[in-house]
Amino acid sequence: MPGGMELKNEVLASSTCALCGACLDWCPYIANIEDHLVLRFDCNVPDGRCYAVCPRTFADWQAISKKYLPDAPENIEIGPYFKAYKVKAPIGIEGQQDGGTVSHLVKTLMEDQLAETVLLTGSDDHITPEPFLSSEISEIKKAAGSRFLASPGMRKLIEAQARNVKKFAVVGRPCQIQALRKLDYNRKPDTPAMDVISIGLFCMWSLGWDFKNYLQREFPGEEILSIAIPQHGFEVTTDKGIHEVPFEEVKKFIRKGCDYCLDMTSELADISVGAFEAEKGWNTVLIRSKKGQELFDKSVSRGFLIFEEYPEAELERLKGASIGKKMRGLSAAQEAFDRGVKPFVDLNSEMYTNVKKLAEGKVE
Amino acid sequence: MSRELVKDPLNIIICGVGGQGNILATELLASALVEKGYYATVGETYGASQRGGSVMSHVRISASTEYGVLIPLGQADIIVSFEPTDTLRVARDYANKSTLILTDSRPNYPLGVLIGEASYPSMDAIVAELEKLSGQVQVIEATNLAVEAGNSQAANILLMGALTALPSVPIDVADYNKVLEQRFSGKALELNLKVFKIGYEQIKQ
């Protein structure tokens, strides 16, 4: 397995990095401030953990999927899943993004001791992401709501290992769940395994940190309270009111590394959660593994969550959106490949050939 | 003059790494020689850094005239060195088949070795090459002996003790002790006198 210099050339210097953070904090060569992640000094390690864990270096993703999600029926558009639900927490939590489902799944993890420690991402200023490890129910509210600036939260894995956490849970973006799986998949036999349960978020993209400066320029002196992406656009709520930011402007800040992403729905997670686009205040939930099912069931039986059948039309819309993202990602990856960047997926595999075929019929 | 020079000029090189104290050791040696009425000149080569670079002092001793501060290539009679690879570097340029070499064996790793780009040769290989280049090589565990005696920094004076014990060097213990007494007092003097003696005893008469 290659090392740091290959990571530098194939990922960091090629701007394909997703800023998942999985390579950080173990290795002294890799450094990060804000959304910059670089090799601060050239490394000579030929076989690096960084390369092994990175979601943007090559892996047999289908084999990984089979290994961790063996039971759910395969789905080419949104990854393997048993069931899709429309879900929300009947009693919400302050600051929740959509239906508060994630926060309540986390609460269930803690109450039922399905995990000792959970990786969450909070923020002091409602915009700058700050990943942290938590074992306290009282801390869940610090993480409620989505931080749309990219955050290298997976760095906290090292802290969890150092704390000798046995049962760990991660709430993360698709790239972070990929890293989590890949790390275990490429784990050396002598490193102990962690029992992990993963709650994956849907994610179309995350933003570079310059977006913060942009907001400061646009709305000087205003305190940002939350950011939401309802169907009609991009809403920034501040202490002075709600501002609509033109999507054309927001787009300028999308991280380059997100262009290559082929996974909108956290296809490797035990359970994936996103917005329910058709109705405010609800979530979309995809259950992908038995662990995920168990967590969901416990949440429901505790009364933390209620659910409804998922409307067929919405499912079709979701799949369409996911395929659209895959198509954009594939063409970006192909472009990168053409300029000499080593691809992180097998672009000619049957799966992606099928994606392309499907897209021809489905994407407008 | 108490002793005739076996060779005139007698050329001695004292070398090591910056911070090991060879400039002081050399100055004391040359002072003792001048006190005794010899012409002694010292040339010192060191770069900008206080430590870490190679430092080489040339001492030229004559009973009749003053010599330039640098020794011509291949004309060192004695090489005293605080660092094995520096011993070899200097010997390649300045030793001849009758040169006598006294060297410490303690490595001082240069940056390239610390970085892992270069490797540090074995002491056996160094000594083997030194033997080919010179007349005689004696390894003295100067730093280790100095550490045992109380302070690694005193390795320089310890090696001066060994040097003074060589029959070709026209000063004796009392001469060097006299300059030590001029420069040091108290604990430092005590330690230096002690390590000087230890060094002196390393040479089999």
Partner: protein, 634 residues
Amino acid sequence: MEWMIIANEPGKTYLMQGNEAIARGALEAGIRFAAAYPGSPSSEILAMLGHVAEKADIYAEWSTNETCALEACLGASFAKVRSLCIMKQNGVLTVGDALHSASLSGVRGGLVLVVADDPSAHSSTNEFDSRHQARAAAVPMLEPVNMQEAKDMVKWGYELSEQLQQLVMVRTVTRINHGRSSVTLGELPQEKPSPAVIGEWDRMVAINWFKDAQIAKLAQAQEIFEDSPFNWYKGPEDPDMIIVTCGTGWLYSSEAVESLGLKDTVGILKIGTTWPLPEKFIVKHLVKTKKVLVVEEVDPFLEQNIANIIAYHPELNIELSGRQGQKAIPRNGELNPDIVLNALTNLTGKTFARPETVVIPQEEAVALPPRELTFCAGCPHRASFFLLKQTLRIHEGQGVVMGDIGCYTMGGQRAGHFLYGFLCCMGGGINAAEGLGNLSRFGFDQPVVALAGDSTFFHSCLPGLVNAKYHDSNMLFVILDNSATAMTGFQPHPGIGLTAMGKAAEPVSIQKVVEAIGCQVTVADPFDIDGTTNTVYNLIKQPGLKVLILKQECATLAVRKREKPRVWVDQDLCRGDDCGCGRFCSRVWGCPGNIWDYEAGKAKIDEVVCVGCGVCATLCPAGAIKMEGGKADE
């Protein structure tokens, strides 16, 4: 040794360093005033004069820069006080205007300017030959061949200076300054004259009106030099060849002539007064031969001036060789006995029986790791360069760094992760950065960083900082404040609070000076790698001029003051050669204290070398480097 330079033991012979001999010579001449800016290989002279100032009843100062030093001496000279000014070759370039002006105004009290050149640039960025300055400024110059002559010339320089009412330069080279040999002491004056009253119509004014006087002084010097005891000829009356030499060349040439058995055929003409040349004296000897070899340090200065003499004297019929066109001696680099031996062998065909040496063929020779210069163990510059390098990489904006002169010049080499893209002279960094930073109006958006040490800051960065401030250049100016002029041996500077004479002085605060110019200033600790990295990152993101002071005392000084904490490696925690670290401490951090235990395959601390700064303990990703005592012991 200080006691030697004030020992009242005329006739006694001591081993003296060239710099000691120079200080002694000045004291024998009865100087009362000395000023210098430190620069290898000259620094010991003023350091020693400072230490003995009280006993010798003189005043000595480390001036803020060389121009301050020379002009301070001119001030003393105005009151007819004898003064000594000392600098290295770079210094004599920076004082150009002062020197040329002083030569027009002339002096009243004797003024000797000692300039220490550094052939082969052992501890310099160039090997400028300061004799060009003497000639350009029409100032007489002397060049000693050994330590004794260095003392004697400096002493005589004052007589000459007062006789001519002109300053006198004495040019030495590293081998004289840092070499040692026997010096016989002369007498120290019993009484020193007090400053003279400067009358209403007394003048020392540098205006071109005095050009004729300046030329006349030089002519008078030349006349005096014709009979100078510092010039002599040694050799046969009808030599096949004459070596004309000065400085170190004299002893090398004598040894070569002796070794090659050429005493009966080759003569040596030794010149101590190298500007203006004693023309008649030289012609008188050169007519004896048809072949001349010139042996001198650095440039073919003597050689070209002799060529000039030959051009005006048809009676001379000479084949001249030396450094020019590398006819006999390499054009570049320091002299040594072998260069002179080889030149003579080539010119005469004579060889001598060298002792038997063995040359080991390359393939059989032990491979020796090169000994590169690096920062001392615990040096704050290592931390500063480490964090600047990483911050610029993290920022991903291709920051450009402009270096400057001091220990930290090494930051342009491996020791500082090759941080510099630009290096000029003292104060050059900030000035160039000011220019580069002002290109932002044309779209230049790479961060621009200039560095300077604390001593360099005072020496030559103030005008640059005012310039950068006034023109609001887009740049970060980093002052590496290690409270020392470490490179040259810890001379105090205005920020330290100590004078050359060891007296307390009110330190000039760099921070306050910078603030008074109107700059935003941040002070940070380079040993706090993470915190200061963030600070630097945030600074380079801001537009306009920013100033950062990285403050941490020079390790070599700090270790003298406090009990050293113990740093060691817990080898059970050390990740060794495996992935995850790649020997980060020794390979990247690169402190001589962080070594590798080849047997264990783990990191180790060389406790002999380590000064206990503890920075490596904060960098180790496995927490394997431990520290006990000192500040990291929380």
